[in-house]
Amino acid sequence: MEQTLRVKRFDPENPGASGYQEYTIEVEETSTILDALIKIREEIDGTLSLRCSCRASICGSCAMRVNGQAKLVCKTRVNAVAPNGETITIDPPGNMPVITDLVVDFKPFWDKMRAVEPYLRPEGPVPETEYIASAESMDHLVGVVNCIMCGACVSDCTVLEVDSNFLGPAALAKAYRFVQDPRDSHKQDRLSVLNNYSGVWDCTRCMQCVEVCPKDVNPMGRIMKLRDLAMEAGFNNTSGSRHTESFAKSVKKNGRLDETKLAVDSMGRFNVPALLDSAPVGLRAMRKGKFPWKAHKSSEPEMVKRVFEKVEGE
């Protein structure tokens, strides 16, 4: 069958000529988007540049945006995206500078990976044989080391779009892998670093990384777990940690959220600059009659309390 792909081109030696180029080719029922792009490169246009290698979703080379969403094109079939032969739009992955066509500069990606000290740091005497570790702990980590560093999560991360300092889903998932490794001796230092600005608290839980990850690594889930672990380890002095605690406390007490208190608690009660900073928002809310002067209460706070008791009891 015939299929049209609309491919983003960028020539750094002639940036003015950049834009989308359409190619129409014959594809098979079983063709992947990578098959189609390779066919274009080999049959129609040798100037098209892309990264690809294994064709089997293990090398992580070929993440790019397909109709606006990051995908590993070697494991994405043409007919899954365009069941009725619709034109497919291909862009390079996002949140990384474009080098040419579909090729981006992964330097920011690898720099962040390096920032989380991505290697096992055991202390104490090295055993003569292997470290003894439970089968469950290792099996759990296999789910994380499934990550092939393709950058799909980084491409579509909505935080990175506005704050390029964020460590991002891939590096944080990598960090999680070491924090949870029973052989590693630096859990506390690692959590302390991840607790800083650009770390675990900067995720907005938009789920994009979970959605686009081609290997089910669930980066956001790992980030959430890192937050729990950081708080359990005593790192409570962040707005994120205070936000979490105030949120839970308020709901437990009133059955509903006390928004004013949440904002004040999150920033820190004595954090005058931050409080002044958010004053305009409060004033605007007052002017519109939407300022929550009094915390709303649930009609059945006892029920909510029972839920908390049940969950906390577990």
């Binding site: 064709r55 979703s57 494991k75 066509d101 099996d139």
Partner: protein
């Protein structure tokens, strides 16, 4: 001009293991790689890594014998012994570095069984063992701050006074050519699967390491030994790991029969790969296949087991075939997978060219001989990658200052420019495909003189038309079109050497099965073939196999 004591070409398992060793030794080492290290093809090794752990009651002799029998007695037994003896320490070291090997109930390393071996001694990470190891070795490279020329493409070696003294490489991002001088160079460029079509190998497996060494005068050894893996997908050639059979999967013909009982009554599906691939091809040729395939059946293992132990296989089946391993048997066939042959080295990675070392799939030590056992390739990379680094570093200490000669850089600039200046004519992709399909047809699971002659004629014809291959992309930045054209030139060298080896070996042994000479001939052919480049052609010599403790006997599985 860049310069180092030791330069490693390639950043797969062999290259990174070598780099880690060199860094530990404190020598000035660097890695140059055409893809980011974690994109290397070592990723694709699924099933595991073999090691006889003596504290578990296993013996190195058992692993050595299985390996030698698997090789059809073509492996050099001193090299195999060394690999088997060093295997245990290599596995433990990888575990200490952070590889998340699967555990048993006591928290110790767990094992699975693999083909051609009497006992379960394959250590694994689900069905992503290679990937898990590669990422950990890259982590170690980060930790040790190894210098990496990432996305640099080596297109020629610098030979001064007969010794290898560096490379000329293109920075793929800028298109600029550079000299990287080195006192010793380690070739760790992996396999050459793209010389065949289809192949399980990645698109980067173009074998220029083999071509570069061949042109520098190093012999390529036993190049006719091409491994066809028993379980690959039709069309794409994508691999389904031997781990499936290791965990108990069946092979079935169109009559629903476990046909391996006829070919290998003891080992059944877990006979060595050459034996299983020939059995499958025989079933297909005799009309008991299904559209040119036979079936791999995992249904009796159960969904939970499949998803826990063989997750990546299930992913491949679902994504590429739209099939569920827990519900349906999947069609598979033998597919080109690995090249046992390679640059001839001694047990320390040294080639016949001073200053040039090799390790991993691109090398031939030889530990795999006529047929590699599953899960021995990863072991080969870490054992001999490490040894090559030690030897190369020691050799580098004996070499004086780098020369300031840049003549090879000028020659390479001219070569690139000539390619770019050629008028539009043939596309490299088309010539490659023609070569690769021809190689699979001529040097397949079964071969004979006529098929070998056909392959030779076609390769020579295509070597002739190479001068017409043109590059459409004239740009400097990330010009993969230009790289493909250069890779093709080296692939044609590899094809020539494979054909020469296949033509020379007048017997059947391991993966080299000639229907016109179906017997193994120990009297005349307990020998390696050595292919030297001779002008534009190939010259074949032979070398006796090293036999130490294990006399060749009939090979029965």
């Amino acid at each position: 001009m860049h310069q180092h004591d030791v330069l490693i070409i390639g950043a797969g398992l062999a290259g990174l293991r070598a780099a880690v060793e060199a860094a530990r030794m404190g020598v000035d080492a660097a890695v140059v790689t055409k893809v980011h290290p974690v994109r290397s093809h070592s990723n694709a090794a699924q099933g595991g890594i073999n090691a006889p752990l003596t504290d578990r009651g296993d013996e190195w002799e058992g692993h050595a014998l299985d390996t030698i029998k698997g090789s059809d007695y073509l492996a050099d037994q001193d090299a195999v012994e060394l690999m088997s003896r060093e295997a245990g320490a290599a596995i433990i070291e990888l575990e200490h570095m952070g590889v998340i090997f699967s555990r048993n109930e006591d928290g110790q390393l767990g094992t699975r069984r693999f083909g051609g071996q009497k006992v379960a001694r394959t250590f694994f990470v689900g069905a992503i063992t290679g990937s898990a190891m590669l990422h950990v070795l890259y982590e170690q490279a980060i930790k040790l701050d190894v210098n990496i020329y990432e996305e640099w493409f080596v297109s020629n070696l610098i030979i001064e006074d007969g010794a290898c003294r560096g490379v000329v490489a293109m920075n793929i991002h800028s298109g600029e050519l550079h000299t990287i001088k080195a006192k010793a160079v380690i070739m760790a460029t992996g396999g050459a699967g793209r010389v065949f079509e289809p192949s399980t190998n990645a698109l980067i497996c173009t074998g220029e390491g083999l071509g570069l060494a061949y042109r520098a005068g190093a012999p390529l050894m036993d190049m006719e030994m091409i491994q066809y893996h028993p379980t690959t997908l039709a069309g794409s050639g994508i691999l389904l790991s031997e781990a499936a059979r290791g965990e108990g999967a069946y092979l079935l013909n169109s009559e629903g029969e476990r046909f391996m009982k006829t070919y290998a009554p003891d080992y059944l599906e877990l006979a060595s790969r050459d034996v299983v691939s020939r059995a499958e091809q025989t079933e297909i040729n005799e009309g008991r296949g299904i559209d040119g395939n036979i079936l791999l059946d995992l249904r009796h293992l159960g969904r939970q087991f499949i998803e826990e132990r063989l997750g990546y296989l299930q992913e491949v089946a679902v994504e590429f075939l739209g099939m569920d391993l827990a519900e349906q048997p999947v069609p598979i066939r033998p597919g080109m997978h690995y090249i046992m042959g390679g640059i001839k080295t001694n047990v320390d990675g040294a080639t016949e060219v001073p200053g040039l070392y090799a390790a991993g799939e691109t090398a031939n030590v030889s530990v795999h001989g006529g047929n590699r056992l599953g899960a021995n390739s990863l072991l080969d990379t870490v054992v001999f990658g490490r040894r090559a680094a030690v030897a190369a570093a020691e050799y580098a200490r004996t070499v004086g200052l780098h020369s300031s000669d840049e003549s090879m850089l000028e020659l390479e600039k001219k070569r690139y420019q000539d390619l770019l200046d050629r008028p539009a004519d043939l596309r490299s992709a088309h010539v490659r495909r023609e070569m690769a399909e021809n190689m699979t047809a001529g040097i397949g699971v079964f071969r004979d003189q006529a098929s070998i002659d056909g392959a030779i004629a076609k390769v020579e014809e295509l070597r002739g038309v190479y001068a017409r291959v043109a590059v459409e992309n004239k740009g400097k930045v990330f010009n993969t079109d230009l790289m493909s054209a250069i890779e093709l030139e080296y692939m044609l060298d590899v094809a020539q050497a494979v054909c020469a080896g296949a033509d020379a070996r007048k017997e059947s042994r391991g993966a080299h099965f000639r229907t016109d000479m179906p017997e193994r001939d120990d009297e005349n052919w307990l020998k390696h073939t050595l292919v030297y480049k001779d002008g534009d052609g190939a010259r074949v010599e032979t070398l006796d196999v090293t036999i130490t403790n294990w006399q060749p006997v009939e090979r029965v599985y």
